[in-house]
Symmetry: D2
Subunit: 366 residues, 4 copies
């Protein structure tokens, strides 16, 4: 029971605070023989990196990852992989105001209630900065999956920002990397830019919904009853900062369907059973069927805003608080690569639960 660790066999322990010396991930359980360099991990960190456009915090972090262990001559050895990211831009004075006050909607108060002490610099451990470590670990998971399950891909994108949803009829995979919102809808990309500009000027923020899809799946992943693939995905996504809801396939909308509508009928295809629909999101009874795994999660609006909100101080005084500093008007944007990383880690974890810790590798002599 390690509270800063996730996974059953692919075990990732993240560490570090927003404004500490460094943060990172201790990645345990990666199979041996996986080609791995910093170059395989950095692109995913760059995707999440702050300050890349006006829609994310202007904090400047290189987010350069270093592999300190577990790799020998460009290949994993099966031993723990230590991934370290040093913090460079730590303007903690920005946070002076909130050392004694609790931001409404933020973990400030609950951390204080639980631990009696907290690192207020940038939210310390409760900062979204912790997700950089997850993205780094996700890079390792992607490298291992490429070896163990060729053809498997994990892609995330935004499907809703505030009240605005994408038009599925315009869904275009190629658009995802073409706009700052990772949205697969060229019209939405344009409209949301205007909407978010206005919000930011109004000293406000907004929520979002991210969808992550795994294509090229294998059947049989998931361990009933309490390590079901969907249950593990739900925990993984809900553990991301600011997430308030998780859906698999039809998600909450499944409540509105009838059994006749919801049944994913099956015919025989060239490679065996072929489903005619995917209301289930690729998971039945907690086990993957080989269909695409489809997960969605909602991200609440950033609680750190420039509009004054009523709160109290550690001393119990009532105050109105404005949160200065460099905050994302829509933290959901940077949650996209984080959701992808969690999906990759959960899938690798279940592949290893099925194949064993070394993924079937063995050494021979003579």
């Amino acid at each position: 029971m390690s509270f800063n660790t996730y996974g059953h066999m692919f075990r990732v322990t993240t560490w570090g605070e927003s404004h500490g010396i460094a943060l990172g991930a201790t990645v345990d359980g990666c199979p041996p023989g996986v080609p791995l360099t910093e170059g395989d991990i950095q692109p995913w960190l760059d995707k999440r990196k702050p300050g890349q456009n006006k829609y994310t915090t202007q904090r400047q972090e290189a987010d350069q990852v270093r592999i300190l262990s577990g790799v020998y001559e460009g290949s994993t050895t099966g031993t723990p992989i230590q991934l370290m990211i040093e913090n460079t831009d730590q303007r903690s004075k920005d946070y002076g105001d909130i050392v004694q006050s609790f931001r409404p909607g933020h973990a400030d108060i609950s951390y204080h209630q639980k631990y009696g002490v907290r690192d207020p610099r940038g939210g310390g451990r409760s900062s979204a900065r912790e997700t950089a470590a997850r993205v780094a670990a996700g890079g390792v998971a992607r490298a291992a999956l490429a070896q163990l399950v060729p053809g498997l891909s994990v892609t995330g994108y935004m499907v809703q920002m505030g009240p605005h949803c994408i038009d599925r009829a315009r869904f275009d995979w190629d658009q995802i990397d073409e706009n700052p919102f990772w949205v697969p809808d060229v019209v939405a990309a344009r409209d949301w830019a205007v909407y978010l500009d206005d919000l930011r000027r109004a000293h406000n923020s907004v929520g979002a919904v991210i969808e992550v899809v795994a294509r090229g799946m294998v059947p049989g992943l998931g361990a009933p009853i309490y390590a079901k693939l969907d249950a593990d995905l739900a925990a993984a996504m809900m553990s991301i900062n600011a997430v308030k809801g998780v859906e698999i396939g039809e998600g909450m909308a499944a409540a509105s369907l009838t059994g006749v509508e919801n049944a994913d009928e099956i015919r025989m295809g060239a490679q065996g059973p072929a489903f005619l629909t995917n209301h289930a999101g690729g998971i039945l009874g907690g086990i993957s069927t080989g269909q695409d795994v489809v997960v969605r999660f909602s991200v609440k609006p950033t609680s750190s805003i420039l509009t004054p909100r009523q709160t109290v101080t550690v001393a119990g005084d009532e105050v109105d608080l404005i949160t200065k500093g460099r905050h994302d008007p829509c933290v959901g944007i940077r949650a996209v690569p984080v959701g992808e990383a969690m999906m990759a880690c959960v899938l690798l974890d279940h592949v290893l639960m099925d194949r064993g810790q070394t993924g079937g590798i063995r050494g021979h002599i003579g």
Copy 2:
């Protein structure tokens, strides 16, 4: 890593198949000194018991629980509590049709894909019958919580059936036990009865949304980063049969809110900080704040219906399948006590993570 076990310190392992000799729960980690008899558990099983009205399966099960260990002279000793429920009504001939075919939308196919073998009698381990064991364990959790956190209550109810939602303006706690749907809205109770009758006659089924609320909470429950209270609740609810979505507080709707709207402002009350709203559902940064914890989950429609659906057989033949047998037209109804049980187990688990395995109990000599 036990796949049929949930919880960190309050560890529940469920066992048994739908049509096996018996099923039950091995409850490990209950503190010593908790008054406990079968009478404390049976009422919750009776609440879930099938065949109580025309809206649930007509299978007749006494669902009588027996405590085989862990209790001495009416009080727990801190050792494992074995809860056994014998199966009495096992008309497995009802299931003859589906031994070779896979019900669309059911775990039949994924279990076959994973294990290469399955117990087809009533769905074996993948049957919703497994949830009887969860409800029994929940009864133990409730008894322990009553000792450790007096005043804490856990209540579940249905808020949506198919397209029909309750009217929050008519919300009435006292109505919940007065209708077969556990719905807190007297009008909805009446309307849904008609709606469900029609569906059943049409050989169809429907989904639902259940809400579970914990009142009288204590702050500080939840262990960041990867045993957050909301992440554990999400996994617990998503692990329930047929669940496709989980929400905390605003849930998916948080995406539509702005930071100004979503901030749960704080003033000082008689017992310390008082929140003016509860968009967060009682959890910030994965830790309880003392507000009510509010969780919702969707349940898909029963996949076993009398309307023919296209599917394939183990041999790969394409067939149209009608599922005979005794199935719930809205399995969401019986998911209400299951959701309550999971909430109770997760809360006790986190109380013990905070207070230690014996809940602070110690023996003295002399």
Copy 3:
């Protein structure tokens, strides 16, 4: 973190008290497709069963095991296997004397100190009777190993009773089942019978050393650094009642050896590397080498004796205690099948860690 569960992927949770209604083991993680009936488990329970000769407690227990779940048509399904043994002979009046007093050298006092309450009937959960559940689980492990690692065998025997050791020159595998002490030395078997008779008449008891050997091993089992095969075996054996020491290969004697003596030199044999000696006991760096795995453990003398010993009561009064009842003069005898069971469970656990939860099984359609 389940305190009554052992194993990583082959997870066994034992439950039940010495004089409760029943006791048993919830066996989670057994691969599917393993032929299994009560008949595969009962012989090992019979080997441990009390009252078989004058050297073990005269308590009469049928120790009949029942499989309540996880098996369908004579074969495991991969779901939890519930093994139940009902208690029949519970003369708890025998234990009346010690309800208020603490037996010197027994867990009575520590259970009271920890839990503030204990089930005094036959020692409750701390009784050696709990090991019946381990032996039953070991029977399942043996059945699964027979499928996954043909040719692997696990055999235990006694090598020391009190001050008397076996003569390795007389070691005879065939003698083990020919005497009540499971000793592979015909002369020792005869001498120890006389020695133990005298001890019993003197109202005394004595300790023993058991050795368990796994032959037909595969290399590569064990997970550095903290699930090393030897570390898991040490925990498994030390968790057996009354065990005070565990050795692998040379064990404590390794301290007396020089590096030149201790090096197990290697030559190439027909099936690859062949070791010329086995000081290591088949494990290097926590990983099996393919040599026989050799484990020894010491069992302290039964603390329940008819000779008065000084102790105190719950109230703090000083008393002299004589423990009536039916106790083993050398509990080490019945520890032999228990040590075998723990070895079998640990080996299967590590095989599954390497091969995955289903042992590589997969189902096909069409």
Copy 4:
């Protein structure tokens, strides 16, 4: 299930190879509010540091520890503590000879058999250098124990080197720090120096026995049945490189005792029950009684010696191998602080299992 992590609630994950960039420990579960600086950890690393005298490897390592996270203003916050030690002296050319050959008695061959690949530089992950990370984590555990259990002390010392045992009649706590062997016997210290000099000149090495004692214990630590305090200690010690046996109290010698001799009789003392002897080593039924906890473990002789030994190569060729490089003639010497660290970590782990993750700390507002 994380194979490079130990502990239930105080979770330590060690990472890093002998000749990698760095190694360290990710310490998860340390309670908040514990005063902690590098200065609290460094002295224990210095105690273990190589090259301090002619009896240990001449490798020169500063072994300077850095705290990268989890501490704010000199006090722990309850978040993960990352401890990093950079490697400075990595003469891996020393190891050129053994890249293709397997040292007899070393993990070279088993790592190759399991992973099919290994980092040969200094033994990579299987090197005793990994224990530096344990000692650093032990420093954190000692700091936390000082807060939670004032008066508790953990002390290790050598009681046997090769065939030579200490004379218990000469036992002197003050001698332990006065000689390079951490031996509490002034005569042994002098004699062993001569003995070890001769061995080293003879290109040989030797084993040892280390004893670790915890004084000022509290009763009630340990979680039956499978997280017994003695079982956890056995696994912890057996997981240390080169350890082949573990004993609690009388250990293997318990086999020779009778029940009359072994009973630790009890009288009432000023602070409650007082035991007249401690054959049990402070643990009954897996739970601490409050007596001193006494653990011993044997360490085999270093396998890397300058005397040629027969072995094979990866290609299967038979060769005679001499291991050059800088190796400890008695690695048991440096195992003393490692054993202390493991004891401290296990004890803190069990204190937290009893008291909860924050050790009972809570924050207040107003």
